[in-house]
C-alpha cells in the first residue's frame, strides 16, 4: 500500500492535458452535477437541460432517422417524449430492474429478478432560472426475497428525496429536506464498498440542510443532518458532512470528503480522497479511497474500515461505454480479512430514456493464511425513465 501512495498522489495532482470531464459524465464536459440535476450533488430527477443532454449527447442515435435534427431529438426529451408546455411543474417516472445471477458460471448458479426502483417524481419550480424548487419522490420499496420468506411485514413505499431548494445565485444555493448525504463520489453501484462502509447506500438518505457553492474553481457542499425522521430517535444519525472538489484544467477534479455523525449507540467518522478525470470524448476515470471509524458508545463493535474504488468508463461509440471496476474493502483493520471485487461491464443507452447495463463481478476474500475461491456474479440492469 505504501508503494501505491506516491503513484496515487501523482495521479491526483498531475493534470491531464487531453482530458475533458461526471460522476463519469465529467468525460462529456459536465464536471458538476448541477448542470443536469435539480440536486446539485447529483442523483434524483433531471432538469430539462439534463434530459436534453441525455437525449442528444449521451444516448445512441442508431434508432433515429438521420433526418432528425439535434433540436428535434432534444425537444422529445420531456415527460412522455413531449416538449414541456409550461414552466412550473415537471413529472418523471423511473424504473430499474435487475437480473442477478449469483455463482455465475457454476452448477450452483442462481438467478433472480429484482425490481429495484419504480418511482414517480414531482418537481415544482418557481422564479427565474428555476431558483426556487420543490422536489418530491415516492416509489416502490423492493423487499428482499429473504424478507418475504420470513413473512416480514415490509412497507411497500419509500421516499428517497423530498426537499426544497433555493439558489441565491448560480454560485450559491440552500437545500432543506430529505436527501442523500454529501459525501464522496456517488457512483451508481450502491453495493460499492465506498458507499456501504460510509453508510451512503440507496436507503441512507437523511433529513437536513445543505448549502452548495461554486467559487474560484472549487465546488462543495456542507450538509448538516439529523437522520431520517421516519426512524426512531435513538438510531437517527445526526451530524455533518462535507464534500469538496477542486477543478484542475476543467477536465480533472480532485476532492475530499468528511463525515461525522452519531446516534445513541455509535459515532461514525468517514473521510476520503477522490478524483474524477475526463480522459477523452466521453471517457472518464474515477477513484476514491478512504476510511471509516465506528466507535461504539458503550459496547463492543468499534472498528476502522478502509475502502478503495477505481472505475473507468471508456466510450466506444455514442451511447456505448465499456466499464472497468475495482472495489476493495477491509472491514476491520485489526483483522486480516479483506475483500477484492473487480470486473468489466458494458453500459448502453440505445435510445434516450433507456439504459441497459451488464456487469460481471469477481469477488475474493483474502485472509491471513487462505483465500476464498473465485466467485462470479452477473448483473443485468434495465433502467427506463420517462
Amino acid at each position: 500500500m505504501r508503494k501505491l501512495i506516491p503513484l496515487l498522489l501523482i495521479m491526483i495532482f498531475t493534470p491531464l492535458k487531453e482530458s475533458k470531464a461526471y460522476p463519469q459524465f465529467i468525460g462529456h464536459g459536465y464536471p458538476s452535477c448541477l448542470n443536469c440535476h435539480y440536486n446539485p450533488m447529483g442523483n434524483g430527477p433531471l432538469t430539462d437541460y439534463g434530459r436534453a443532454v441525455g437525449a442528444t449527447g449521451i444516448a445512441s442515435r442508431m434508432f433515429y432517422p438521420s433526418s432528425w435534427s439535434e433540436e428535434k431529438i432534444g425537444d422529445s426529451s420531456g415527460f412522455l417524449f413531449r416538449k414541456p408546455k409550461q414552466e412550473v411543474a415537471r413529472t418523471q417516472l423511473n424504473y430499474r430492474g435487475l437480473q442477478m445471477v449469483q455463482a455465475f458460471g457454476t452448477s450452483n448458479a442462481k438467478s433472480s429478478w429484482i425490481n429495484m426502483q419504480g418511482s414517480g417524481q414531482l418537481i415544482l419550480k418557481f422564479l427565474n432560472d428555476d431558483r426556487l424548487i420543490m422536489v418530491g419522490e415516492i416509489g416502490y420499496n423492493p423487499p428482499s426475497p429473504q424478507a418475504r420468506a420470513a413473512n416480514q411485514n415490509q412497507k411497500i413505499l419509500r421516499s428517497r428525496e423530498h426537499y426544497v431548494g433555493y439558489r441565491f445565485n448560480p454560485e450559491f444555493g440552500v437545500y432543506a429536506g430529505f436527501m442523500d448525504k454529501a459525501y464522496g463520489i456517488r457512483v451508481a453501484e450502491h453495493i460499492a464498498l465506498s458507499r456501504v462502509y460510509t453508510d451512503n447506500t440507496q436507503n441512507d438518505q437523511t433529513h437536513g440542510v445543505m448549502i452548495h457553492g461554486l467559487a474560484g474553481g472549487f465546488e462543495g457542499a456542507l450538509h448538516a443532518f439529523f437522520g431520517s425522521m421516519f426512524q426512531s430517535a435513538d438510531i437517527r444519525q445526526k451530524g455533518v458532512s462535507l464534500q469538496l472538489e477542486r477543478e484542475v484544467n476543467n477536465d480533472h477534479r480532485i476532492g475530499f470528503s468528511f463525515l461525522n455523525s452519531k446516534n445513541d449507540y455509535i459515532g461514525v467518522t468517514s473521510y476520503g480522497a477522490h478524483s474524477r478525470i475526463s480522459l477523452n470524448d466521453g471517457s472518464a476515470l474515477m477513484f476514491e479511497f478512504g476510511q471509516n471509524h465506528r466507535n461504539a458508545k458503550s459496547g463492543s463493535g468499534s472498528r476502522i474500515s478502509r475502502y478503495g474504488l477505481l472505475q473507468t468508463f471508456s466510450k466506444a461509440t455514442q451511447g456505448l461505454y465499456l466499464i472497468a471496476n475495482i472495489d476493495y474493502g477491509k472491514t476491520d483493520l485489526s483483522q486480516e480479512s479483506s475483500v477484492l471485487r473487480w470486473g468489466p461491464g458494458i453500459q448502453f443507452f440505445p435510445i434516450q430514456k433507456v439504459e441497459l447495463r451488464a456487469d460481471l463481478y469477481n469477488s475474493r476474500v483474502f485472509n491471513e493464511n487462505s483465500t476464498s475461491l473465485d466467485s462470479w456474479m452477473l448483473l443485468l440492469q434495465t433502467h427506463i425513465w420517462l
Binding site: A150, N151, S370
Partner: protein
Amino acid sequence: MISKIRHRSLHLALLGVMIPVIIFAFGSCANYNSNTFDATAYLDTFGDPNDPNFAASFKIIEEKCSWCHYHKGQYPSLITSQRWVESGQVVPGSPQTSPLFLKLKNPSGGGGNMPQDLPPLSSTEYSTIQSWIQNIPGS
C-alpha cells in the same frame, strides 16, 4: 388547441394524484437503512430478556448474514428468539430442522450454502447458533 388542453389536463391529473399520494405516503414509508441495527450491533446490553443465548447468536447473524441480506435491513423486527420462531426460520430445540441453521455451511464440510461466496462460519460461531436454537426457552 385540443392537444394543448389535453396536455394541461394530463399534468393537472398527475399533480392531483401525486401530491396527495406523496403527502400520504411520506408518513408510511419504509425506514430501514444502514443504521437500523445499531442498537443490536453496538450495545452490549442488547438481548432477549427471556433468552440469554440470543444476543451472541444475533451478533453473528448481524456480522455474517445481514450484510448481503439487504444491508442489515432484512431482519429488523427479529430481535428476540420468539420472533425468529414466529418467522419460521427457527424451530425451538431443533437446529437440524431450522431453515436458518440448515442454510449455513458446516465448517466441517457439507451443510447449506451460506454465507454465499464466503468462507463458512467458524466452528465456534456455528456451534453458538446451534446451541442457541437447541436451548431456546420453551423448546
